[in-house]
């Protein structure tokens, strides 16, 4: 069967150019000594990958990639890099025996992955290609039957709605529970990040706490104190 991702002409040129930029900038992310440069090359990699997503027909994932990765996570990284004085950090040795072993291991892993990819055969697709851009729509229409009673008939159709709506339907219909768990995870991560990241109060700041809180005065005593009773 034909490959849905067949690259010809312009799409092939786009894939080669954007893919080359993505790989080159990801190598630069790893090899740059200054974390600020690493972060900026990481941004370039994310944007190139977003272009690849859109070229594959996954517009929603590409948009989320730009919004969350390039917009959110990169700002977070840059903030932390700015907070940490990178100029004062000791220079990191690059070409050590251990790092050469790491690079060698990476090359070997890539060769193994390439061999696996080259030797594999493709199973036929089970779904129709328009599955990615359609959503199941259930329409109920009242129909008056021969006896005069009104019955509801349901017609199930697949409307062409575009990739974003199809993904949204899948997220909120088939993957609702994982979606809610993911939102809970984000809440826990947010609370965890705040608790881990906040600094301990020192003695002078502890004094700023009002006396009745620090001394744990009970509500009744506090009420008596305020009213003068």
């Amino acid at each position: 069967m034909t490959d849905p991702l067949m690259l010809t002409g312009v799409s092939l040129a786009l894939f080669v150019i954007v893919g080359a930029i993505a790989v080159a900038s990801s190598i630069l992310v790893v090899s740059m000594r200054n974390p600020v440069h690493s972060a900026l090359f990481l941004l370039l990699t994310f944007l190139c990958v977003a272009i690849l997503f859109v070229s594959m027909g996954a517009e929603f994932v590409g948009a989320v990639q730009v919004l969350v990765y390039a917009g959110g996570i990169m700002v977070l990284f840059l903030f932390v890099v700015m907070l940490i004085n990178v100029k004062a950090l000791p220079k990191e040795k690059v070409f050590t025996a251990t790092s050469m072993m790491g690079v060698l291991m990476g090359v070997l892993l890539f060769i193994i992955l390439a061999i696996i990819l080259a030797s594999g055969t493709w199973a036929p697709a089970v779904n129709a290609p328009e599955n990615l851009r359609t959503a199941v729509v259930v329409k109920t229409t009242p129909v008056v039957d021969a006896g005069g009673a009104t019955i509801q008939t349901e017609t199930v159709t697949r409307d062409v709605v575009g990739n974003a709506e199809a993904v949204g339907m899948a997220l909120y219909r088939d993957y609702l529970v994982p979606f809610e768990v993911a939102s809970l995870f984000l809440l826990v991560a947010m609370v965890g990040a705040i608790v881990i990241g906040k600094r301990e109060l020192d003695a002078s700041e502890e004094e700023a706490i009002p006396e009745f809180i620090a001394k744990k005065v009970s509500d009744e005593d506090r009420l008596k104190e305020v009213t003068g009773a």
Partner: protein, 100 residues
């Protein structure tokens, strides 16, 4: 060469670069960035497979992966900030409190 394989090879390349970054680099911020690279490579893989098999799961899971990556980056960067406050370093080799 089938085009899906080209996308998978690209993703394997970026994943390998990220893995090398995690193992070789000693700067904790760069290690976290390499982790993000690896997660992104996995996303390329999922989307390529989903196009190949016309299955929407490959578009839903990257959303979850991006979500996990955001949480992981937030907590990891908070740990880095606290570490820098404590020891004035972000070098992973100098943090040996747990004798690991």
């Amino acid at each position: 060469m089938p085009s899906t394989t080209a996308f998978l090879l690209l993703s394997a390349l970026i994943f390998t670069v990220g893995l090398v970054g995690v193992t070789v680099r000693r700067n904790m911020i760069t290690v976290l960035m390499s982790l993000e690279l690896m997660l992104n490579a996995v996303n390329i893989n999922l989307v390529a497979f989903s196009q190949r098999f016309s299955s929407l799961e490959g578009h839903v899971f990257p959303v979850f992966i991006i979500c996990i990556a955001a949480g992981e980056a937030a907590v990891g960067l908070a740990i880095i900030i606290q570490l820098y406050r404590l020891k004035s370093t972000v070098n992973v080799d100098e943090v040996t409190e747990l004798n690991g």
